[in-house]
Amino acid sequence: MLQYAAIVLIMLGLYGILTKRNVIKIIVSLNILEIGLNLFIVSVGFVDGGLAPIFTSQNATNDLNFVDPLPQALVLTAIVIGVGTTALGLAIAKTIYAKYGTFNLDEMGEK
C-alpha cells in the first residue's frame, strides 16, 4: 500500500510542477516528488515481518529475517542530495524574487 502511495506521491509531485506557476510551489512539488521517491526506494527493500537491519543484542545474528539495507543506504544519500537541491532552489528563488519582485512565473516579464 505504501508503495502505491509513493508512486502517487511521485505523480503528484510531477502534477505540481506541471500546473503550478509559483516558484516556491514548484520547489514544494519537487520535495513531494523526492519524498515519494524515497518512500518508494525504501519500500522496494521491505520484507513482511522483517527486522530493521541493525544487529542488536536482541537481533544478534545474520540468520534473522532482516529487511534489505541497501535501499535504505541509498535513500540516505538521496535525502541529502534532495536537501542540497532544495537549498539551492530556494536560494535561486530568492534571487528571482529580488529581480522580479514576485514568485509567480506568469507575472515575470522575461522573454
Partner: protein, 608 residues
C-alpha cells in the same frame, strides 16, 4: 610519365603558396593562379593525350587513380577553362575583400577537379566533389551577393548528398567503393533508386529544371572571373554524373517500344526538354547579361542531358561535343561580359550601350561566342547541335525536337540582345572618355577561346575522334568520321565545306558592305529630332526591351519554381517555430508534460 598524384599535390601546394604570396601582394597570388592552372592544364593535356599519365599513389592516403578517356575529357576541358579564366584574376583581384583566399580557393577547387575525374574510387570522388563545392562556395560571395553562395551551396548539397546516397547503395551492392564495380553491380529496384538519385544529383549540378534556381543567382553574382568557371567548367560535373546514370546504369524500367527508349531515359529527356524551353524563355527576359548567360547555361545543360538520355552514339557524341563547345562559348561570353563589367562597373544591359566603340576586340569575341551558342555555322555550337538534332530526330521524338529547335531559335534571340544592348547602340555619356579596351592580359584568353570556337566549328573531327574513344570506352559504337566529315544517321556533315561556303558568304557581304557604303559616321549630337537640334546626350537609342511582347505572354509564370523553394524554406522555418513554441519556454512544465506523455505511451503500449 607524369604522376597524377604529383599534379594534385602541386596544385594543392600552389594553392597555399598563392595564399601566402597573396598576403604579400594580392597580384602575386593571382599570378600564381595563372602559372598553376596553366601548368596543370598543359601537363594534363600533354601527358594525357600521349597516354603517359601515371596512376601510382605513394603519398596521399586512400586515394587511388585511374585514367579513363571519360575522366580525361572532362578534366582537360575543365582545367582549360580554369587556365584561360585565370588570366583575368590579376585584373580583378584588387576588388576582393579577401584576395589571398580567392587565389587559394581558385586553385584548390581546380585541384578538386583533378581528384574527381581521375579516381576509380567513389569515396575519393565524392571527397573531391564536396571539396569543389566548399571551395567554390567561398569564392562566390566575394562577388555581389551572399545569398548566391547560400543557394549555390543548398542545391550543390542536394546534389552531393543524392550522389552520396547512391554511392553508398552501390557500395552495398558491390562490396567496395570502386566506381566500375559499383556501377556494374547495381540491379533491380536498387538500380532504379540509384538512377533517380544520380539524376537528381546531375540535375542539381547542371542546373536543369526544376533544380535550376541557383544558376542565375550564383552565376549572376559570382565574381566576374569566376562566373565562366562556374558556368563553363564546374556545372559540367553534373554531366559527368549524368553519364554515369544514363549510360552505365540500366534500370529495369519499362521500355517504350515506339521510341525504343526506356521510360527512365524518356523522363529525363522530357525534363531536359523542359530545361531547354524554360531556360530559353527566362534568358529572354533577363536584364543582367550575366544572368542571361546563366539561364542560357541552363538551357544548354538541357541539351547535354537530352543528348545523353537518347542512348545512341550520335547523341552521346553530340552531348560530349556540346559540353566542349558550350564551355568554350559560354566561357568566352562570360569573359567578354566580365571585361565589360570591369571597364564599366556594371553588367546590366539597361545601363550600357555602344561599348563597341571602345572595346571592339571584346565585341568580336562576344559575337563569335554567341554565334556558337546559337548554333550557327561555322562555330562549334553548330556541330554539336547538329549531332543532337540528328539523334533526336532519329528517335522520332517530335516534341523534344520542337523543344530543341525552339531553344536554338530562342538562344539566337537572347544572345543577340546583349549584343545589341551592350555593344551596339548609343554610347552612354557617363562612360564617355573613360572607357577603354580591356588590357592585353585579358584579351589573350578571350582571343584563345574565340579561336577555339572557330576551330571546333571547322575541324570538329580533331575533337570527335577523341570523343569516339570515350564513347567506345562507354561501350557504344563510335560515330563514323571521315577526314573532314561526320556521318550522321540521315546525312553527312562536312563542316569544312560549310565553313568555306559561309566564309564566301561573309566575304561577299563584306565586299558589298564596303562597296555600297553610303552611310557616313556622324557624331552623336550631329543630328536632330522633331525639328530640333539635340543639345544633350540623352538616351536616344533604346535597345533594352526587345522582346516585350513575347515576354508579356509568360511573365506571370516565371517565378513558380522559385516560389516553390521559397515556400519550402518557409515550411521548414514554420515547422521549427512550431516545435519551438511547443517545446521551448522558460517553464519546467513543458518537460514534465512530455515526460508524462512518453511514459504513458510506453505503458499504454505495453498494457494493450
Amino acid at each position: 610519365m607524369a604522376s597524377i598524384e604529383l599534379l594534385l599535390i602541386i596544385a594543392l601546394a600552389s594553392g597555399f603558396l598563392a595564399y601566402l604570396l597573396g598576403r604579400v601582394n594580392r597580384v602575386y597570388g593571382a599570378i600564381v593562379t595563372i602559372v598553376s592552372s596553366m601548368f596543370v592544364f598543359s601537363s594534363l593535356a600533354y601527358f594525357g593525350f600521349t597516354d603517359s599519365l601515371d596512376t601510382t599513389v605513394s603519398i596521399l592516403p586512400y586515394v587511388t587513380f585511374q585514367v579513363t578517356y571519360l575522366g580525361m575529357f572532362f578534366a582537360v576541358m575543365i582545367t582549360f577553362i580554369y587556365a584561360m579564366v585565370s588570366f583575368f584574376n590579376p585584373m580583378f583581384i584588387k576588388d576582393y575583400k579577401y584576395p589571398g583566399a580567392y587565389s587559394m580557393l581558385y586553385i584548390l577547387s581546380m585541384a578538386g577537379v583533378i581528384g574527381v575525374f581521375f579516381t576509380d574510387n567513389f569515396m575519393v570522388m565524392f571527397f573531391f566533389f564536396e571539396f569543389i563545392v566548399w571551395t567554390s562556395m567561398f569564392l562566390i560571395p566575394l562577388g555581389h551577393s551572399r545569398k548566391a553562395a547560400v543557394s549555390y551551396y543548398a542545391f550543390s548539397a542536394v546534389g552531393s548528398f543524392a550522389l552520396l546516397f547512391a554511392i553508398f547503395m552501390m557500395r552495398e551492392a558491390a562490396g567496395s567503393f570502386g566506381i566500375n564495380a559499383g556501377l556494374a553491380a547495381i540491379s533491380g529496384t536498387n538500380a532504379i533508386v540509384v538512377f533517380i538519385l544520380l539524376i537528381v544529383s546531375a540535375f542539381a549540378k547542371l542546373g536543369a529544371f526544376p533544380l535550376h534556381t541557383w544558376l542565375p543567382i550564383a552565376h549572376g553574382n559570382a565574381p566576374h572571373p569566376f562566373s565562366p568557371v562556374l558556368s563553363g567548367a564546374l556545372v559540367k560535373l553534373g554531366a559527368f554524373v549524368a553519364v554515369m546514370a544514363l549510360i552505365k546504369i540500366t534500370p529495369n524500367s519499362y521500355v517504350i517500344v515506339a521510341l525504343d527508349l526506356p521510360l527512365a531515359q524518356y523522363l529525363v529527356a522530357i525534363f531536359a526538354g523542359l530545361s531547354i524551353v524554360f531556360g530559353t524563355l527566362m534568358a529572354i527576359r533577363q536584364d543582367d547579361a550575366k544572368k542571361l548567360l546563366a539561364y542560357s547555361s541552363m538551357s544548354h545543360g538541357g541539351y547535354i542531358l537530352l543528348a545523353f538520355s537518347l542512348g545512341s552514339s550520335i547523341g552521346l557524341s553530340g552531348g560530349f561535343y556540346h559540353i566542349v563547345t558550350h564551355a568554350l562559348a559560354t566561357g568566352a561570353a562570360f569573359l567578354a561580359i566580365a571585361a565589360v563589367g570591369r571597364q564599366t562597373g556594371t553588367t546590366k544591359m539597361s545601363e550600357l550601350g555602344g561599348v563597341i566603340q571602345k572595346m571592339p576586340v571584346t565585341y568580336v569575341v562576344y559575337l563569335i561566342a554567341i554565334i556558337s551558342m546559337a548554333g550557327i555555322p561555322p562555330m562549334g555550337g553548330f556541330i554539336s547541335k547538329w549531332l543532337i538534332f540528328q539523334a533526336v530526330i532519329d528517335k522520332g521524338l517530335i516534341l523534344l525536337a520542337a523543344a530543341v529547335f525552339f531553344g536554338s531559335i530562342g538562344s539566337f534571340l537572347y544572345v543577340f540582345r546583349p549584343l545589341a544592348a551592350l555593344f551596339l547602340g548609343q554610347e552612354k555619356p557617363q562612360f564617355k572618355g573613360i572607357l577603354k579596351e580591356a588590357p592585353v592580359i585579358m584579351l589573350i584568353p578571350m582571343i584563345v577561346l574565340s579561336g577555339m570556337n572557330l576551330v571546333t566549328g571547322i575541324f570538329p573531327n580533331i575533337f570527335l575522334q577523341f570523343i569516339n574513344k570515350v564513347i567506345v570506352e562507354l561501350g557504344m559504337a563510335p560515330v563514323v568520321l571521315g577526314t573532314y566529315t561526320i556521318q550522321g544517321t540521315n546525312g553527312i556533315l562536312d563542316p569544312l565545306q560549310i565553313t568555306i561556303a559561309f566564309g564566301i558568304g561573309v566575304v561577299i557581304a563584306f565586299i558589298i558592305f564596303i562597296l555600297l557604303k553610303k552611310s557616313k559616321q556622324v557624331g552623336l549630337m550631329d543630328t536632330y529630332t522633331a525639328g530640333n537640334f539635340i543639345y544633350s546626350e540623352e538616351l536616344m537609342h533604346y535597345s533594352v526591351d526587345f522582346y516585350a511582347p513575347i515576354e508579356r505572354l509568360y511573365e506571370k509564370h516565371t517565378t513558380h519554381v522559385q516560389d516553390m523553394y521559397k515556400s519550402l524554406e518557409n515550411k521548414v522555418k514554420e515547422f521549427g517555430n512550431v516545435v519551438k513554441y511547443f517545446f521551448f519556454t522558460n517553464k519546467p512544465e513543458i518537460t514534465v508534460f512530455w515526460i508524462l506523455i512518453i511514459i504513458g505511451a510506453l505503458l499504454w503500449g505495453d498494457l494493450l
